[in-house]
Amino acid sequence: MAAAALGWALRAARQVLPASCTRQVRGYYVDWRMLRDVKRRKLAYEYADERLRINAIRKNTILPKELQEVADKEIAALPRDSCPTRIRNRCVLTSRPRGVKRRWRLSRIVFRHFADHAQMSGVQRAMW
């Protein structure tokens, strides 16, 4: 647990070569889960408009229900990773899924580390 939590020093995974491009891609995500999260974010961005429109048809009381059922089937046919709910706000440095503050995109441990070393602008230890 402790080793995993303080594992930001270890850069384990390399980015997988996407199927489309042939040139060598070099990059380091902290782990594979982070990579998968990145892919989900990209797909969610691509399909965002379509999902919005199909959902507008679905969540409707005016249009006939048959049309809405068809829309249901259509949205289910979209790739699963295009769903924005599958995105997890992981820590940017450690890929920790829990205890991440949204404003800094950092997990609580990393945040504390940087704040104590005075590397977070405007952040101070609370005392009252």
Partner: protein, 343 residues
């Protein structure tokens, strides 16, 4: 420091030479009238020599005189040697034809052949130099410049008015009393400036002075219609900028740098900074014109009107995006046309 050798020197040397060659001269008395003309021409030729060269010439003359007395008794040779030395200094060689012609002319004359030949060659070289100069750009003749200037005559009344205006201006500016000496100098300057009063009726009147070279319109066109900067040009420009940039000397320069980079906003704050929406407000709000392809009655129309209402209240999308939104729905409903008709 240029001195002009008078005709006497040129005249003296041929006369000195002629005294030695009286025998040869007596033979050619009959055909001397054209030759005398040539002699006069050569005699009238003026030689411009600088002071330094004159000293060199004097020295050389002394040495050459000594050598001449040692070798032969001819005194007319003295002037030939320094001139020959001068000629050797000229870099541009003359044409062979001219040289041959000069030698032929010299041989035909009764005077000292070598001296006349060298004189003629020197004259030819000088002529070539002047022609070259004129070919290049033309000599700026100060006489031409000044000839166009006319002196304006001031009437005493006008002069008095001018001086008074000058005085008043000076007092208003400084707020102090100006000494009469300073005033006098100003007045003198004013007069001098007025003495060289240019004729300014039109810019193109008068003789051309050939001071500036005329740029042809072709060169201008080629300058303006340059090809788009290549990647190498851009890279070079970037390199230069990176090398020449200095770290900011003070906080102001740092803020300027940040503003250029985009880190700092521009003040006074522009609420529409970064927004390049060219469309007017009516294009955002009145979107009913895009609903023409939809059926007038029915639930679809009702649905689309709601969509349009929502879009008109949306400030974040551009007009293009809104139109695309509506068009997507249109396409979707067209595809489902048969299905809808079953219902």
């Amino acid at each position: 420091t240029s001195t002009v050798l008078s005709t006497k020197e040129d005249g003296s040397t041929p006369s000195a030479a002629s005294t030695t060659e009286t025998a040869s001269k007596s033979q050619k008395d009959s055909a001397e009238t054209p030759k005398q003309k040539l002699l006069n021409l050569i005699g009238n030729m003026k030689v411009e020599v600088s002071s330094m060269k004159k000293f060199q010439q004097l020295k050389k003359r002394e040495t050459s005189k000594q050598s001449a007395t040692q070798r032969e008794g001819l005194g007319g040779r003295s002037s030939a040697l320094p001139k020959a030395a001068e000629d050797f200094q000229r870099s541009k060689p003359l044409k062979r034809e001219l040289v041959e012609a000069a030698s032929a002319v010299a041989s035909s004359l009764p005077l000292n052949k070598e001296q006349t030949e060298s004189d003629l060659l020197a004259q030819l070289r000088r002529h070539e130099e002047t022609t070259d100069k004129q070919k290049m750009g033309g000599i700026v003749n100060i006489r031409n410049v000044i000839s166009d200037m006319t002196i304006k005559r001031e009437s005493p009344a006008q002069r008095g008015a001018r001086i008074s205006s000058l005085i008043s201006l000076e007092l208003e500016e400084d707020g102090k009393r100006i000494k009469p000496e300073r005033l006098g100098s100003h007045v003198v300057k004013y007069q001098i400036s007025f003495s060289f009063f240019f004729v300014y009726r039109s810019l193109k009147v008068g003789r051309r002075l050939n001071i500036f070279t005329k740029t042809s319109p072709d060169t201008e066109k080629t300058l303006t219609t340059a090809s788009a900067p290549t990647i190498w040009d851009l890279e070079f420009a970037k390199e230069i900028a990176a090398v020449t940039e200095q770290p900011p000397r003070n906080g102001f320069e740092e803020m300027i740098q940040w503003t250029k980079e985009g880190i700092l906003w521009e003040f006074p704050i522009d609420n529409e900074a970064g927004m390049e929406d060219d469309a007017e407000f009516h294009e955002h709000i009145f979107l009913e014109k895009h609903l023409e392809d939809f059926p007038k009655q029915g639930p679809i129309r009702h649905f689309m009107e709601l969509v349009i209402c929502g879009l008109s209240k949306n400030p974040y999308l551009t007009v293009k995006q809104k139109i695309e939104h509506i068009e997507w729905f249109q396409k979707y409903f067209e595809e489902k046309q048969e299905f809808l008709q079953e219902i």
